[in-house]
Symmetry: C2
Subunit: 226 residues, 2 copies
DNA sequence: GCTTTATCGAACCGGTCGGTTCGATTAAAT
DNA sequence: ATTTAATCGAACCGACCGGTTCGATAAAGC
């Protein structure tokens, strides 16, 4: 097994010139490698169930090195959550822009959202986070904000625009956007979270669920029903 | 601190007569006492985070005694989940019977459901269960069945009856009942689960949310819109 | 009274935990 | 070729884990 600093990215030496060796604990590739191993462990065993020794093994990194990159177990976990938090929910806002008809926008947004949050990987994250919310409430809240609340806010803004344009009759856009989000994954997400359903929903199931969600939503809030 | 078998329930002795002393590990009051302490620990720390020593302390029971009543940590946890599972969701079906108008039934059912599953205690249970679903999927599935799925099925049956009576235009009652359930807690439950909101919702918020849910539901599926 | 026995409580088991240390290794920099 | 230092890896720390054992205690049954 190779030792010494791995050379996968360039950096600057004290002399100011480009060099190929990283300072201790500053090789981003090694950092990712550790995070990857940690993710496997944390998602499988939860925060308490995961062991630092196992994380080292899974990451292919010595314990000494790991503790150069991260202060302790909590530090590692927090860094990992922060990374995944934004990786999962990047690019959602773009789906609500453009000048498609409202139904199409909702459908596109709903499909992306529903399929994303019902994925095995994301479901595992949600379980892991939920499991430690009691002892780390701020971490859970931040995860929620980056995920549910951000998409919620984006949708909320769209609904207000549509209302202002007279195409929607929404007394409470805040509530309506929350309702739409829940509708898209009705009957699926919760069953996934609690392990009643153990495989990703098929794309056509997502499509059907979102189509029904759009239909119900428009029936309730559309100005011209149909 | 008193020792010896506590005398809170009657039992039968080998002779067949009523006696006041329980066989080892068969005092239901002591059993409850253990379960109570275990609940506190498991809900606060999760399955892995909870320690058997702490559970003993919290329950006011010696470790030796605890292991007379339960085989091991998992056995205790499973017994506890089984007890709570049915304690939480008892009596929901009754709310859907009688001859009230559909809207009233939905409202009553929705309010009870929403306020129940957003309670601190129930939220903590959901977090704890979700946290170990990966390693104990059957336990999570059974929890889901007793909770979400049972209420879901009850509602489903009601919708089919209403459709048969011509008072509802539901193409897919299965989906519609899931949608209604999600609508009642839209924007609340998820925020509670992830610790974004840390207190029980006020009754009037529940009422407003359920009222909106009924409205949306009836707009989408009611035969006479209004 | 005496016997029975459920419970207590503390010591103990082997194992693993998170975290630390430090000499050996090895590759980059010069 | 030599120096430098990031990483390795194994041993080690004290603490605690889940689980077991067993003599002491005290209440119930006779």
């Amino acid at each position: 097994m190779p030792q010494g600093a791995s050379r996968t990215d360039s950096d600057t030496c004290p002399g100011g010139r480009v060099c190929r060796r990283h300072a201790a604990g500053e090789d981003p590739a090694k950092r990712d490698q550790i995070l990857q191993g940690a993710m496997k462990e944390f998602l499988e065993k939860g925060f308490d169930g995961a062991s630092m020794n196992e994380i080292c093994r899974a990451a292919g990194v010595s314990k000494g090195t790991l503790y150069v990159y991260f202060e302790d177990k909590l530090d590692l976990f927090v860094a990992l959550v922060a990374r995944e938090r934004q990786a999962i929910f990047a690019g959602f806002d773009a789906l609500l822009k453009g000048d498609l008809p409202l139904e199409d926008k909702l459908t596109r947004f709903g499909q992306r959202l529903a399929s994303t949050i019902c994925t095995d990987h994301v479901i595992q994250w949600q379980r892991t986070i939920a499991g430690i919310v009691d002892r780390m409430p701020e971490l859970g809240a931040r995860f929620y904000e980056a995920a549910a609340q951000r998409t919620h806010d984006d949708l909320n803004a769209l609904l207000r625009r549509e209302r202002a344009a007279g195409r929607l009759d929404v007394p409470d856009p805040e509530r309506a956007s929350a309702q739409f989000i829940e509708l898209t994954v009705a009957g699926i997400w919760r069953a996934r979270l609690f392990g009643k359903r153990r495989t990703d929903p098929e794309p056509d199931e997502i499509e059907a669920s979102v189509a029904s969600a759009v239909q119900v939503f428009m029936a309730a809030y559309g100005r011209t029903s149909g």
